[in-house]
C-alpha cells in the first residue's frame, strides 16, 4: 500500500528515495514491533542453573498469552506488567494450565518497545516467590527467563539474557558435593557448555534433576 502511494507521486528522485526509506523502516517496524514491555537496566550477579533452580518458587514452560501494562493497584506510582502464560509443563510448584504474575517495571520507558513478554513468546521461566505486594520476577532477572526458539534445522533451543554464559559454572562440582547424580547427558553439558543457546531438552533435564523430579 505504501509503495503504491509512492509510485503515483510525481516527486523528484531524492524525495522519492527518502520516502521509500521511511516506508521501509515503517514496514520493518510492523514486523519487529510487538506488544511487549520493557524491563529496565539493573546490574545483577551471575548465577548457575542449579542456584537459579533452588531459588525459584515456580518453574514453568509455556507461552505468553497476554502482557498488560498497568500501575500497581496499591503502589500507583510503580508501573507493572501483568503476564499471563499458557503452561505446557510445570517443573516446580503446583501443576497448572495457566499462570498470571505481576512484575515491577522501572524503566523510563514504561510501556512498549521491548520483548521480555511478547505475546506468543515461548518461555521457560524460573519465578521467585511472590512478595507481599503481589510482585515477582524471574530469578536473577533475565537469567531465569529462557526464550525458546527453533532454529533453521528444527532444533529447539533455550537461551537467557546472558546468552547462557556461566549457566553451568561449577554445577558438576556442587552436584557431586551434594551427592546429586547428574545424568551423563547433563554432566556432559555442564562440563562442556560455555555459552550460547542449549537444546531445550537438555535444559529441561537439568532442571528436573536439580528440582529432584527426574
Amino acid at each position: 500500500m505504501l509503495y503504491g502511494v509512492i509510485y503515483v507521486l510525481d516527486v523528484n528522485q531524492s524525495l522519492r528515495r527518502a520516502l521509500l526509506m521511511l516506508s521501509v523502516v515503517s514496514i520493518l517496524t510492523v514486523c519487529l514491533h510487538n506488544s511487549s514491555f520493557a524491563q529496565s537496566s539493573a546490574r545483577t550477579i551471575p548465577r548457575s542453573l542449579d542456584q537459579l533452580t533452588a531459588e525459584a518458587d515456580v518453574i514453568v514452560h509455556g507461552s505468553v498469552t497476554s502482557a498488560k501494562l498497568e500501575p500497581h493497584p496499591q503502589l500507583r506510582n510503580l508501573m507493572t506488567v501483568v503476564v499471563t502464560m499458557r503452561i505446557v509443563e510445570t517443573y516446580k510448584g503446583p501443576a497448572r494450565k495457566t499462570i498470571t504474575f505481576r512484575q515491577y517495571v522501572w524503566s523510563l520507558d514504561e510501556s512498549q518497545g521491548a520483548t521480555e513478554y511478547g505475546k506468543g513468546q515461548e518461555l521457560l521461566l524460573l519465578l521467585r516467590p511472590v512478595s507481599e505486594y503481589g510482585l515477582t520476577s524471574p530469578v536473577g532477572l533475565g537469567q531465569g527467563r529462557f526464550l525458546i526458539s527453533t532454529d533453521r534445522k528444527g532444533h529447539v533451543t533455550a537461551v537467557n539474557s546472558r546468552g547462557n554464559v556461566g549457566l553451568f559454572n561449577s554445577v558438576a562440582q556442587r552436584a557431586q558435593a551434594h551427592g546429586l547424580q547428574l545424568s551423563p547427558r547433563v554432566l556432559t553439558v555442564a562440563q562442556q557448555h560455555r555459552g550460547g543457546p542449549i537444546p531445550l531438552t537438555d535444559l529441561q533435564e537439568a532442571i528436573r534433576t536439580f528440582v529432584g523430579t527426574r
Binding site: 503502589l75 523510563l108 512498549q112 556461566g166
Partner: protein, 476 residues
C-alpha cells in the same frame, strides 16, 4: 514555563505510548511532532541534563547504606554518602566532559515518606511519585535488600536506575532514581541461604552502581568485545576488559579497577564527552561518521553495531585494538518505531501504534547513520550484529529486539561493496578536531534489503555479483 515543563514531565512519565530509543550512546533521543502529538525534546538530539544547570542535583536516603541481618550498621549514612559521591565523581572527573553532580541533602518528604530511612515499598512509591514530577532525584539505600525483595525483584540485583521525568519541551532529563542493594555490602556471603545473601567487594559493587549512574546521566548500553561474554573465559583477558565498556549490558568480568584499569573504558569516556562536551573535547577527539547500507548500497540499515578500533601498536605489550574502541549503533538518532496504523483498531489499546514512538528522529538522513568520537589515532571500522539476547533492559541501539545484521561481520574498506571480503580493511587516521565523514559500509548480503521484491529501480544498477545472487534466490 516551569509549570509547563513539569506538566510535560508528568505527562510523559505516565502517558508514553511507545518505546523510547535505547541507543548505544544516548539512552533517549528526541523526536519531532507527529500529527497532533507535540515534539519530544529536540529532534535527533540526545536527552541530557541541562548543561546550563550543572551540577546535577540528587538527594540521598538518610538511612545507612548497609546493615547486617541483625540490624547492625555495616556502612553508615555518612560513609554511604561518601561512597555515592565518589561513584558520581568517576563520571564527573572525565576531563573531556562537562558534567557535575551535587548532593543537595536528604530525600524530600513525599506522601507516606515523612523523612528518615526509606524502608518500605509504599514510601518508595511515594518518593518515586515526586521523582516523576521532577521534584527530586533520589539515591535510595536499600540497606538490607528488603525493599528490593518487596518489589518482587531477586536478590541478585545489585542496584538499578529508574529514569523518572523528562523535559520534553527542551530535551532535558529532569529526574532519575538509583537504588543500591546494601545486602551486597553487609559482610555476609551466604549464597546458599534462603533467601541468598550475596557479597561483592567494594570495587565490584561500586562499578555496578557507576554503571547505573551512567544511565542516570543519560547513557545507554554499548557493545564492544562481545566475544568476551560469548567465550566466557574468566577472568577476562585484560586487554579485552580494558575495551569492554562499563556500559556493556551485563556484568560478568572481574572489576576493572581490580585488573588495574580505569573504571571507565574509552567508549564510556567518549560517549559521556559527546553528551556533555567541554571546551577541551574538540582538542581530544575527532569523529568518524557514515551510514550502514544494505547490499543494494542505497537502503540504510538500522541497528547494526559499528566499532572503531585503534590499530595495534606492535611496539607495546598491549593489544590496542582490543583496548581502545568506541562504538555506535547505526541509526541511533532515528526512531526505533516509526509506527503504523494497520492494527490500531484490531487489538487492545496497547497495540495501537499509530504514531509510533515519540523518541528518535524521523529525518531519513539519520537512518543507518552513525557517528563515533575517537581519540586521535589510526582506526579500523567494523560492523556486527547487536547480540540477539540484548533485549529490553539489556537492549543496545534503537531496535528492541535487535535484528540480525544481514550478512557477516566485516570491516570498512575504501572499495565498499556488497561482495567484498569481510576481512579486507583500510585504516582511517583521525586527528583532534577532525570530522571524517562518508565512512559508509555496504553489508555483504544476497538480499538488497528486507523487502527484496521492492527494487525502486535499483535492481538494474546493482553489481553483477549481487544480481547473480538474487537470481539464485529467485530460482531457489
Amino acid at each position: 514555563m516551569r509549570i509547563r515543563t513539569l506538566a510535560s514531565a508528568v505527562l510523559i512519565s505516565w502517558c508514553l505510548g511507545a518505546s523510547l530509543a535505547f541507543a548505544g550512546g544516548p539512552i533517549v533521543v528526541g523526536g519531532p511532532a507527529v500529527r497532533t502529538r507535540p515534539a519530544f525534546g529536540i529532534d535527533g538530539q540526545a536527552f541530557t541534563w541541562n548543561p546550563a544547570k550543572m551540577p546535577i542535583s540528587y538527594r540521598v536516603d538518610p538511612g545507612p547504606m548497609a546493615v547486617n541481618p541483625t540490624g547492625g550498621v555495616v556502612i553508615d549514612h555518612a560513609a554511604g554518602v561518601q561512597r555515592v559521591q565518589s561513584m558520581f565523581a568517576v563520571w564527573q572527573e572525565v576531563a573531556t566532559a562537562s558534567l557535575s553532580f551535587s548532593n543537595i541533602g536528604n530525600l524530600l518528604p513525599a506522601g507516606s515518606y515523612t523523612g528518615g530511612d526509606l524502608t518500605t515499598a509504599q514510601q518508595f512509591n511515594d518518593v518515586m511519585g515526586s521523582c516523576k514530577a521532577g521534584i527530586q532525584s533520589p539515591v535510595i539505600f536499600d540497606a538490607n535488600g528488603a525493599l528490593i525483595a518487596s518489589l518482587g525483584l531477586p536478590p541478585e540485583v545489585i542496584g538499578f536506575n529508574s529514569g523518572c521525568a523528562l523535559d520534553t519541551t527542551n530535551g532535558f532529563l529532569l529526574g532519575s532514581a538509583i537504588v543500591l542493594n546494601g545486602k551486597f555490602q553487609d559482610g555476609i556471603n551466604a549464597p546458599t541461604s534462603s533467601p541468598p545473601n550475596y557479597e561483592l567487594t567494594a570495587t565490584e559493587f561500586d562499578e555496578a552502581i557507576i554503571h547505573e549512574m551512567g544511565h542516570f546521566s543519560g547513557l545507554g548500553h554499548s557493545q564492544i568485545n562481545l566475544d568476551l561474554l560469548l567465550q566466557s573465559a574468566l577472568p577476562c583477558d585484560v586487554d579485552s576488559l580494558a575495551g569492554l565498556p562499563l556500559m556493556f549490558p551485563v556484568e560478568f568480568c572481574q572489576a576493572r579497577k581490580d585488573a588495574g584499569l580505569p573504571v571507565l573504558a574509552p567508549d564510556d569516556v567518549s560517549w559521556i564527552s559527546s553528551l556533555y562536551p567541554s571546551p577541551t573535547t574538540v582538542n581530544n577527539y575527532g569523529t568518524i561518521s557514515g551510514t550502514v547500507y544494505f547490499g543494494d548500497g542505497v537502503t540504510p540499515v538500522q541497528g547494526v553495531n559499528v566499532i572503531a578500533r585503534l590499530i595495534d601498536d606492535p611496539s607495546t605489550p598491549h593489544d590496542e585494538s582490543r583496548r581502545v574502541a568506541v562504538s555506535a549503533v547505526s541509526g541511533y538518532l532515528f526512531t526505533g518505531n516509526p509506527g503504523q496504523s494497520v492494527t490500531a483498531n484490531m487489538g487492545p489499546t496497547a497495540e495501537n501504534n499509530t504514531n509510533g514512538s515519540p523518541a528518535g528522529s524521523r529525518n531519513p538522513t539519520l537512518m543507518g547513520y552513525y557517528q563515533i568520537a575517537v581519540p586521535p589515532g589510526t582506526y579500523t571500522v567494523e560492523v556486527e550484529s547487536v547480540y540477539s539476547q540484548f533485549v529490553a533492559g539489556s537492549s543496545v541501539g534503537p531496535l528492541d529486539p535487535p535484528i540480525a545484521m544481514p550478512g557477516h561481520p566485516e570491516f570498512w574498506n575504501q572499495q565498499e561493496s556488497a561482495f567484498d571480503f569481510p576481512l579486507q580493511r583500510d585504516t582511517i587516521t583521525v586527528h583532534a578536531g577532525d570530522k571524517i565523514t562518508g565512512i559508509d559500509i555496504i553489508l555483504n548480503s544476497s538480499y538488497p534489503r528486507y523487502d527484496q521484491y521492492e527494487d525502486e529501480g535499483v535492481l538494474f544498477n546493482i553489481p553483477v555479483m549481487n544480481r547473480m545472487l538474487l537470481a539464485k534466490d529467485i530460482v531457489a
